[in-house]
């Protein structure tokens, strides 16, 4: 479902003397449907950068990133927009939403974007929020006022609202208590069971051991110092 | 007797030709406002300078002229203009609608149906029906060009929203032959139906605004309205107190300081004609000397 080949990335800092910083070279990995692959490596090794490139958030310098039939490294913006809407979900570490919108609508939005009826979308959102122990009295409020842990759970609910065939998870269990961590791990297991291809970053080693089928160490993708 | 100090009908021949060219163009494109080089006239703007120039351009020595102001032949404005043309053109005058060949009017259409060969000349203060909604002349011209008339209905919409009904009672806009929206000058909307399919030539002159427009005989002029608020020509719900007419446009007169009032035909010639034919209204016999 996800297939990365020869992927490279560098940042050019035009405002700092045009410094070119290569951050990745020859990256390659595959995630099959129903498989969960964990990215490991030291902080700064490029785990998040790789995830962002798969999501189209960072531009690739070279190589290919196939998600389903689409090569994200070469795709037009419009194709990536469609990919994100239909196929590829992403749970980042940060919740970024329009301030005034209710939590229920924030979670339902990916379904509304797919043209699902509002009633069904909100019902699904409500189910996820209950499961993630967000008290119902908060559902009509904007999550921008929530605590970090609550925001993270809203973010996860939003990421799991639609059954994406491929999912990117960036530290989904960070800052969660034991109960909610358990809920999130079950959500991941269920997604894997229904055939989703999952690529994730888990600092939580126990969680990693429980949900990941394989690990890929991104240290191997670090460009040699000579570059 | 013509005052020899003036050319026939006051204006010089070249000016009259210029106005006639504008008139021909206006008749060729019904409802379209034709710019013309309006002259200074020996009367103030607002007193009918546009109408007077059009009348001057139309008059021939054989014409018989009638001038009315709000339907009356005997008010200051009507008398002044009639005398102006008596003196400068030496034409015959009349107060009798059927006898006139040219009728200059301010704010009314005579009750007596006009006939082929007659010319009705309107005095127009503001020729542009879109003016109060769109102040830019460049834009209103463009709107006419492109038949972009949604704004006209916005005005009527606002009327209904504020008053529950289309409150516009005079200068009620019409669409001419399905093309140009036209301001019929401040005639009461009671007169609007007479604009359409009229046998006479109707000419409109705006002196200060330098515009001439026209309705050739038998031109269709449809009053704008909404399906659920159709156009309704309205008048005071009375009969004329002098001649008893139930179908003519009425003026309300205060007759004393005790609340006494009477309704009389605004068209004095029409009213006098009916009384001469023996029609008598509520107060017509009791006070025959009262003339509005």
């Amino acid at each position: 479902m996800i297939r990365i080949e020869n992927l490279s990335k560098s940042f050019t800092l035009h405002n700092q003397g045009g410094a070119v910083i290569p951050v990745m070279a020859d990256a390659a990995l595959e995630v099959a449907p129903g498989e969960c692959v964990g990215l490991v490596g030291q902080s700064g090794a490029g785990k998040s950068t790789l995830m962002r490139m798969v999501y189209g958030n960072y531009l690739a310098a070279g190589g290919s990133i196939r998600v389903g039939a689409l090569d994200v490294a070469r795709a037009a913006p419009r194709e990536i927009i469609a990919l994100r809407r239909d196929t590829l979900g992403y749970v980042s570490q940060f919740l970024r939403v329009v301030p005034r919108v209710s939590t229920l609508d924030v979670v339902a939005e990916p379904l509304l974007a797919l043209g699902r009826p509002a009633g069904a979308a909100r019902a699904r959102a409500a189910g996820l929020l209950s499961r993630l122990n967000i008290p119902e009295r908060l559902w009509q409020l904007s999550p921008t006022t929530f605590s970090g842990g609550e925001q993270q759970r809203v973010n996860i609910a939003r990421g799991f609202a639609h059954d994406y065939p491929a999912l990117l998870l960036d530290e989904p269990t960070a800052s969660l208590d034991a109960t909610n961590r358990e809920v999130v791990l079950s959500l991941i297991e269920e997604a894997r069971a229904r055939g989703a291809a999952i690529l994730g970053i888990f600092h939580d080693e126990a969680a990693r051991a429980r949900v990941c089928d394989r690990l890929v160490d991104v240290t191997g993708f670090t460009p040699r110092a000579a570059a | 007797m013509t005052d020899q100090a003036y050319n026939f009908a006051y204006l010089d021949e070249q000016t009259k030709r210029m106005i006639r060219r504008a008139l021909l163009k206006a008749i060729a494109v019904p409802g379209y406002q034709v710019p013309f080089a309006s002259r200074e006239m020996p009367m103030p703007y607002g007193w009918g300078t546009g109408g007077v120039q059009v009348t001057a351009a139309c008059l021939t020595p054989e014409d018989r002229l009638k001038v009315i102001d709000q339907g009356a032949d005997d008010t200051t404005n009507a008398v002044s203009i009639r005398k102006f043309f008596q003196r400068t053109a030496g034409v015959a005058t009349t107060e009798h609608t059927p006898d006139a060949t040219v009728i200059q009017t301010r704010h009314r259409i005579p009750e007596t149906a006009l006939k082929a060969g007659q010319i009705l000349v309107y005095q127009v203060p503001i020729p542009e029906p879109l003016r109060f909604l769109e102040p830019r002349e460049s834009e209103t011209r463009k709107m006419h060009e492109l038949e972009d008339y949604g704004l006209m209905h916005v005005k009527l919409y606002e009327d209904i929203a504020r008053h529950g009904t289309i409150a516009t009672a005079y200068a009620y806009p019409v669409k001419v032959e399905g093309r140009y929206v036209m301001d019929p000058s401040p005639i009461p909307k009671f007169d609007n139906p007479k604009l359409s399919g009229n046998a006479a030539i109707q000419l409109f002159g705006a002196g200060r605004e330098q515009r001439i427009y026209a309705l050739p005989p038998w031109t269709e002029a449809v009053s704008l309205d909404f399906d659920d608020h159709p156009f309704q020509p309205s008048k005071a719900p009375h009969d004329c107190d002098l001649c008893g007419a139930a179908d003519s446009y009425l003026d309300e007169l205060i007759t004393d300081d005790l609340g006494g009032r009477m309704f009389v035909c605004s068209d004095t010639d029409f009213c006098a004609g009916r009384r001469a034919a023996g029609h008598i209204g509520r107060l017509g016999a009791a006070e025959p000397e009262v003339v509005p």
């Binding site: 940042f11 050019t12 800092l13 035009h14 405002n15 962002r52 189209g56 958030n57 960072y58 531009l59 913006p77 419009r78 990536i80 927009i81 970024r96 939403v97 329009v98 301030p99 005034r100 919108v101 509304l112 974007a113 797919l114 043209g115 | 909604l133 463009k142 492109l146 038949e147 972009d148 008339y149 949604g150 704004l151 209905h153 916005v154 919409y157 606002e158 209904i160 929203a161 504020r162 309205d225 909404f226 399906d227 659920d228 608020h229």
Partner: protein
């Protein structure tokens, strides 16, 4: 057919712009601008004052005439159109939301009349139906129905802006041009407006070209982003990609100059 189905059925861009150039004498307004806009897409144009983004918008919307280039709307050549046809588009398929609601509203006409104008312009002649539709649209932009006979001068800035949006969207346009629609509004009012716009874009399948200098606004509203400098497009791409991984020196400067986007 839902908005989504309509969008899915489309096989060509709604708006195709190719080599659009506008000069003011020797000075460049905008130069060689090329992009496609697909149904349901929101394109943000950012840049500092004088970057040409407003010139570009007014050329696209037909308020100014471009010197060179081509604009195809739904396959029709906009620059070759007569003014009647172009104005016809302007009051049916297209809409333009001005930064200052006073430029886009008739301040002397009631809220209902403002919303109803586009309907009447295309021939609506039933007062009751026009009023019902205006009421429905006031509700959609969260203006109470009992304000329908008030003039916009009695409204707050945020309400005026929402009224302008209702007035523009009542004729179900497919393409909306917006010039700094949230500029000049309080932050809380901005958020409400952004939410409203997002919902309308999604539910109606609108295509939008939005000009702004507010990167936070485009982040939340625009699918794609075009960065302009000195009349030229220096970078374009997915909004979050351009903001998070800017490639051009100017974009990097622009993004790093903002406290937090």
């Amino acid at each position: 057919m839902t908005a989504m189905d309509r969008i899915a059925a489309v096989t060509r861009p709604l708006l195709q712009v190719d080599g659009l150039t506008k000069r003011y004498g020797a000075r460049i307004g905008c130069a060689d601008v090329t992009f496609d806009l697909w149904p349901g897409e929101v394109l943000g144009i950012v840049g500092e004052s004088g970057s040409g983004k407003s010139t570009l918008l007014s050329c696209l919307a037909g308020h100014q005439r471009a010197d060179l280039g081509r604009i195809l709307y739904d396959g029709r050549d906009v620059l070759a159109m007569g003014e009647t046809e172009r104005r016809g588009l302007g009051r049916t398929d297209w809409a333009f939301v001005h930064q200052n609601p006073r430029d886009g509203l008739r301040m002397g006409v009631t809220a209902g009349g403002n919303v109803g104008e586009r309907l009447m312009a295309v021939g609506a002649r039933h007062y009751g139906q026009i009023r019902d539709k205006a009421t429905d649209w006031l509700d959609r932009v969260e203006i109470a129905a009992d304000r329908i006979d008030d003039r916009p001068s009695a409204f707050s800035g945020g309400m005026q802006q929402r009224l302008q949006i209702a007035r523009n969207l009542v004729s179900s346009p497919r393409l909306v041009f917006m010039d700094e629609p949230t500029g000049g509004l309080d932050v809380s009012v901005q958020a409400r407006l952004l939410d409203l716009l997002r919902g309308l874009v999604r539910d109606l399948g609108l295509s939008v070209v939005i000009v702004t200098h507010d990167l936070a606004v485009v982040r939340l509203l625009a699918h794609r982003l075009m960065v302009m400098k000195s009349g030229r497009v220096v970078e374009q791409g997915l909004t979050d990609q351009v903001l998070d991984d800017p490639q051009h020196a100017y974009t990097q400067l622009l993004v790093s100059s903002v406290l937090q986007v």
